[in-house]
């Protein structure tokens, strides 16, 4: 536990500061999300050593959650998917002249939720890691499969499209050397593909280059930013009193949603807003500029970011694109996340958790006085910002293996990502399929080998059986509920027609 103070060394404090500032800027800028930004700076962090490097990457991850609210409130443009809900009441509060109060409540809510989630992470991650020591290949296979199926159900769009993206990701993960036998697959004699497709190249392409292409295709005009004075940042006593309960509700909800695979931060903010619409005393005001509509969702998305770290640190399984990049960074730094992380690299484990505490304080201190400055970042015209992002994407992809082949992969992924977006396919499940595909294949082959070819060996233990049952439920339930809704809808429709005839 004393390793928590590793985060307080000057080098780690600097890494945390740079990470949180970069994260805030990324959160403020519409488009380039934390996953893309983390992939861009991955080569830089390799030079810093595992603890400082991962602290910086983690800083970008949770800093983006803070920054996303600034432009949602001031400009009505969410910097992050997780801040979309904040625009509803945040921007209306700004138009009422309460922008400062909304920003302060968002920052305080983020701080409260961030701190709660770190405490919960600190307490639960070692317990989960200890429990995971009993996990064998069958349990890992079941858990990875459950994660991918749940992700398909939770990404918001079409389930079939999400599933197709997951499968495409798994197919891409089979390029290169087979994880157990060493057979070279699907490389078509390209030397650069023998070690598999570079995760950094695919991520920078899908989230960086695709974003630049989408911006070029849409070219939205920049919105003027409302000026906020420092003295206007104090929320009134009434606003603070009304924010406490939504903040606490959002914190607990967000943390729980963060444990579930999928775009947890975005889902958590929507769930929190939905809960406030049902339980808040001032629910009638929601949508017209109510402080509850900022406090709850902002707390929820920050708590979810902390919750999402538990499966990564204790099981080595990332369920969001950002944690997938973090996993990739850990592996590049020869740190294997999972049950043995605490035993093998206690400095990294506790250093990263300690940096969350420090980072939360830094973000609160930075976000309140510098909010105007961060908001101005959002007004940098894309015609100057995006060309620079293109070059950074290319160099980040190249630097992964010092190979031009990876630049080709990034460019290909970028163009495919842009086409996918315009056809309504979300790239996030593809990235997770790419990461979890290798885990899935390795654990499946190992489990079958241990069970001497008996398929039943996949569900021989109760955790594996439970997770496979949950997977089956996650596949069957949406289909059954859709059929039930349709049947019920037909009956109701017929009933109404009969009523009309009677009338």
């Amino acid at each position: 536990m004393s390793e928590l103070f590793v985060a307080l060394t000057p080098a780690n404090l600097l890494a945390c500061f740079i990470g949180t500032v970069l994260g805030t800027v990324v959160g403020v800028l519409p488009g380039l999300g934390p996953a893309g930004a983390m992939a861009l700076v991955l080569p830089l962090t390799l030079k810093m050593g595992p603890t400082a490097g991962l602290i910086m990457l983690a800083g970008i991850y949770y800093g983006a959650m803070y920054g996303g609210s600034t432009t949602s409130i001031l400009v009505n443009v969410p910097g992050e998917g997780a801040s979309v809900v904040t625009t509803i009441d945040g921007y209306r509060l700004a138009r009422k002249g309460r922008a400062g109060a909304a920003l302060a409540v968002a920052a305080i809510g983020s701080f409260v939720a961030g701190t709660f989630s770190v405490v919960a992470l600190q307490l639960t991650a070692p317990l989960v890691a200890r429990a995971a020591l009993a996990f064998g290949p069958a349990e890992y296979f079941a858990f990875a499969l459950l994660g991918l199926v749940l992700l398909g159900n939770l990404t918001g769009g079409s389930r079939a499209k999400s599933l197709a993206m997951v499968l495409l990701g798994i197919m891409l993960s089979t390029v290169g050397m087979d994880p157990l036998g060493g057979t070279i697959r699907f490389t078509f004699d390209l030397a650069g593909a023998q070690a598999g497709l570079s995760f950094v190249a695919v991520t920078t392409g899908l989230f960086g280059i695709a974003e630049v292409l989408a911006t070029a295709a849409e070219r939205a005009p920049t919105t003027p930013v409302a000026r906020v004075r420092f003295r206007e940042l104090y929320p009134s006593r009434e606003e603070l009193r009304r924010s406490v309960a939504p903040m606490l509700r959002g914190t607990v909800l967000g943390f729980l949603v963060g444990l579930v695979p999928g775009p947890a931060a975005t889902i958590a903010s929507f769930v929190s807003y939905g809960v406030e619409k049902k339980v808040s005393k001032h629910r009638a005001e929601l949508g017209t500029g109510a402080i509850e509509g900022v406090a709850g969702p902002e707390a929820a998305n920050n708590a979810a970011a902390g919750g999402g770290m538990i499966p990564l640190l204790s099981l080595g399984l990332p369920f969001t694109p950002s944690t997938a990049v973090l996993l990739s960074g850990m592996l590049l730094m020869s740190v294997t996340p999972g049950p043995f992380l605490l035993r093998d690299h206690p400095n990294v484990f506790w250093g990263v958790i300690g940096s969350f505490y420090v980072g939360n304080v830094m973000l609160l201190v930075l976000n309140l006085p510098l909010v105007g400055l961060f908001a101005r970042v959002a007004t940098i015209p894309p015609r100057y910002l995006m060309p620079a992002v293109l070059v950074l994407c290319a160099v980040a992809a190249y630097a992964d293996n010092n190979n031009v082949f990876d630049v080709w992969v990034a460019v290909g992924a970028g163009m495919t990502g842009w086409a996918m977006r315009s056809l309504g396919f979300d790239p996030a499940p593809l990235v997770l399929g790419l990461v979890l595909g290798a885990v899935l294949e390795r654990s499946l082959v190992q489990a079958l080998t241990i069970a001497r070819g008996e398929i039943a060996g996949l569900w021989a233990s109760w955790p594996a059986a439970l997770m496979l049952a949950a997977t089956a439920l996650a596949v069957v339930f949406p289909v059954v509920s859709a059929v039930a809704r349709r049947t019920l809808g037909t009956h109701i429709g017929r009933g109404r027609q009969r009523e009309r005839r009677h009338l």
Partner: protein, 163 residues
């Protein structure tokens, strides 16, 4: 054929090509699964998903509301709002993105020949101009800054052997 059906057909073609390419990898036995097992499973699953997407796209297309313009009036049941017509401003922008794709391909081709600094300079100038930067001076200054900083950061500080 709608966009969803085209994308489903594309996915099906991809799955079939992947399955054909994966035929050379042995499946072996369940006790010792070979390198072909996961590719076969993933390929078949993607093909099935693509077929499902194709069917659903047709079903949705047939059952969904018709645009008001096509329905011929406002009194038709299940009438959707007329699809907004693409503004004249949007068309050149889509071309901008396509031109940017060509610039990126040329950049990757020229990267080993021209080197990182020169090709990145050219990419930034072209991208900035395509995205609407006025004049030549600003894109040139931006390109010098971006290529210079990236070179200093990656080649000098991090020791990445940039081409």
């Amino acid at each position: 054929m709608g966009r969803d059906r085209w994308s489903a057909a594309g996915l099906a073609v991809l799955a079939i090509a992947y399955l054909l390419a994966g035929r050379r990898y042995p499946l072996d036995t369940l006790a010792t699964p070979g390198p072909g097992v996961v590719p076969l499973t993933a390929g078949v699953a993607l093909l099935a998903t693509a077929v499902w997407l194709f069917i659903v796209a047709g079903f949705v297309g047939a059952g969904s509301a018709r645009p008001a313009r096509d329905a011929g009036g406002l009194f038709e049941e299940r009438v959707a709002p007329t699809r907004p017509t693409e503004s004249l401003m949007q068309r050149p922008m889509r071309w901008t993105a396509r031109a940017l794709c060509v610039a990126l391909i040329l950049y990757t081709v020229l990267l080993p020949w021209l080197g990182f600094a020169a090709s990145s300079f050219a990419l930034v100038v072209i991208a900035a101009r395509l995205m609407g930067a006025p004049g030549w001076w600003r894109p040139i200054v931006l390109a010098l800054g971006v290529a210079g900083v990236a070179h200093l950061l990656f080649a000098r500080w991090l020791g990445v052997p940039l081409p």
